[in-house]
C-alpha cells in the first residue's frame, strides 16, 4: 500500500490516541483517500479486539433477567401501536353535540373489543413464534449432527489420524470419551458420555501440547457431549494428551478446574 499517512496513524486514531493537529490532518486525509480509509477500518478491527485483553469477569444472572424483562416490556407498546391503540388525529368539532355520549359509549365498547382481539392475537402470535423457534432449533440440531458426522468421516479417512481414549478420573461420576486427532489437519473430533455438570459449570475439552499451555478446544454443557463435536487447532501441533475439566459456565481460557477425563497420546502415534 502506498504510504499516505504514517503507518501507525490508523491504529492510533482508532485507539483515540491521536489529538491536535495530527488528528485533524489524519481525518482530512482519510476523507479523500480510500486506501487509508480501508487501513482505518482494519485498525478499528484490531483496536476493538484489545478489549479481549481485559481480565475475565462474569455479569450477574440478574443482568440478563433485567434485559429480557425490558425487551418484553418494549414489545407490549409496539403491539399496542400495531393493533389496538388509536391513531392520533386532529380534533374535529362535531356538528351534533347530542351524539357525543353515544359515540363515547361506542368508542369504549369498540376499544374493549379491540383489546380482547389484540390479547387473543398476542397469544396466537406467541404460540406461532414458539413453534417457529422450536422448528429452528430442531433444524439447527439436525444440521449440527450432519456436520459432525461429515467431520468424523473426514477425519477417519485421513492419514495420520490417531485415536485417544479418555478415561474417567477418580472421584468423579462415571463417563468416558474418545478423541480423533489429526495434527496435520489441525482437527479434533470428540465423542463420549458424561452426566450433566452442575448448573453453574461447564465441561471443557483441552489439548495438552508437547510444549506450552493447554489449548482450549470446546465447552460443553448437559447432554451436548453425547454427540460428536469438532474443534480446530493450529495445524502441526503435537499433542501429549487430551483432557476434560470442569470449569465455570462458559469455559475458561486456561484450565482452572479438576480433570474429569484424561487420555495420554501414546508415543509413536
Amino acid at each position: 500500500m502506498e504510504r499516505h499517512v504514517n503507518p501507525e496513524d490508523p491504529d492510533l486514531y482508532a485507539l483515540g490516541a491521536l489529538d491536535g493537529e495530527e488528528k485533524q490532518a489524519f481525518e482530512a486525509h482519510v476523507r479523500s483517500c480510500p486506501a487509508c480509509a480501508r487501513a482505518l477500518d482494519a485498525a478499528r478491527q484490531r483496536v476493538a479486539l484489545l478489549g479481549l485483553a481485559a481480565p475475565a469477569a462474569t455479569p450477574r444472572p440478574s443482568v440478563k433477567e433485567a434485559l429480557m424483562r425490558r425487551v418484553r416490556e418494549e414489545r407490549i407498546p409496539e403491539a399496542l401501536r400495531g393493533h389496538g391503540a388509536p391513531s392520533r388525529q386532529p380534533k374535529r368539532p362535531l356538528g351534533f353535540s347530542w351524539l357525543t355520549p353515544a359515540f363515547g359509549a361506542a368508542a369504549v365498547f369498540f376499544a374493549a373489543l379491540a383489546a380482547l382481539i389484540w390479547m387473543k392475537d398476542l397469544r396466537d402470535n406467541g404460540r406461532i413464534q414458539e413453534l417457529q423457534a422450536q422448528l429452528a432449533v430442531a433444524q439447527s440440531r439436525s444440521l449440527q449432527i450432519a456436520n459432525a458426522a461429515a467431520e468424523t468421516d473426514k477425519l477417519l479417512g485421513a492419514p495420520g489420524t490417531m485415536r485417544v481414549g479418555l478415561e474417567q478420573q477418580a472421584g468423579w461420576p462415571s463417563g468416558r470419551a474418545a478423541v480423533l486427532y489429526n495434527a496435520k489437519m489441525g482437527m479434533v473430533t470428540c465423542a463420549g458420555w458424561l452426566p450433566a455438570p452442575p448448573s453453574d459449570k461447564s465441561y471443557q475439552l483441552w489439548l495438552v501440547p508437547m510444549q506450552g499451555a493447554p489449548v482450549p478446544l470446546r465447552v460443553f454443557s448437559g447432554g451436548e457431549w453425547n454427540e460428536p463435536v469438532t474443534a480446530h487447532v493450529p495445524p502441526g501441533m503435537a499433542a501429549k494428551a487430551f483432557a476434560v475439566t470442569v470449569e465455570p459456565k462458559g469455559g475458561m481460557p486456561w484450565p482452572t478446574g479438576p480433570k474429569v477425563l484424561v487420555g495420554g497420546v501414546s508415543q509413536g502415534e
Partner: protein
Amino acid sequence: MTAPTQRVPDSALVERIMAGEEDALSALYDRYAGMLYAMLVRILKDTSAAEEVLQDLFLQLWRGASRFDASRGSLPAWLLVIGRNRALSRLRRRERREILEDPEEFSLEAVPSAGDLEDEAWRMQLMQRLRSAMATLPPEQKEALELAYFEGMTQTEIAARTGSPLGTVKSRVRAAMQSLKQFFDDGTTRQSGRS
C-alpha cells in the same frame, strides 16, 4: 474455516432478532456478554455501571439489529467498539471530560470481520494469546496502551498523566501498537489458514 458443529451463526441469530425472537437475543447475550462485561469492568472499574452499559448494549442490538450486515461486519467487534465507546463516554461524563466520539454515530460497517470470534474456542485462544502478548510488552508501552484503550486518553493526556515527554509517549504508543499489529497479523493468518 470449517464451521464448528454446534453453533448458530451470529447472522442467523440477528435475523431472528429482527423477526422479534427473544431467544435469539438471549443466545447472543450468552455468547458475548462475558467478553463485553470483562472489558466494561476494566474501563469503568464499577461492576454496577458495567452491568448497566452491558444491558443497554444488548437493548441497542434488540432495537437496531436491522443495521447489522453480516457480509460487511463482525458482530462481536461491533459490540466491543460500541461497548468501549459507551463506557468511555460514561467515564468522561463522570470526569467532566470532552466526549471525543459519539458512539451512536459509529457505523457498524466500520468494523469489518475480525476473524471468527463467533467460535468460542478460537475466541478463548485469542484472549489467552492477546493477554500473553500484552504481558510481553515493555511496562511503559503497556501502560501507555492501557491508558489509551481502557481510559480513552490521547497521547497528550497520557503524557500529562505519566509525566513523560509527549514525544516519548508517542513512541511508546506507536511501538506498542506496532507489536500488537504484528500479533494480530499472525493471528489472522493462522485463522485464515484453517479455512
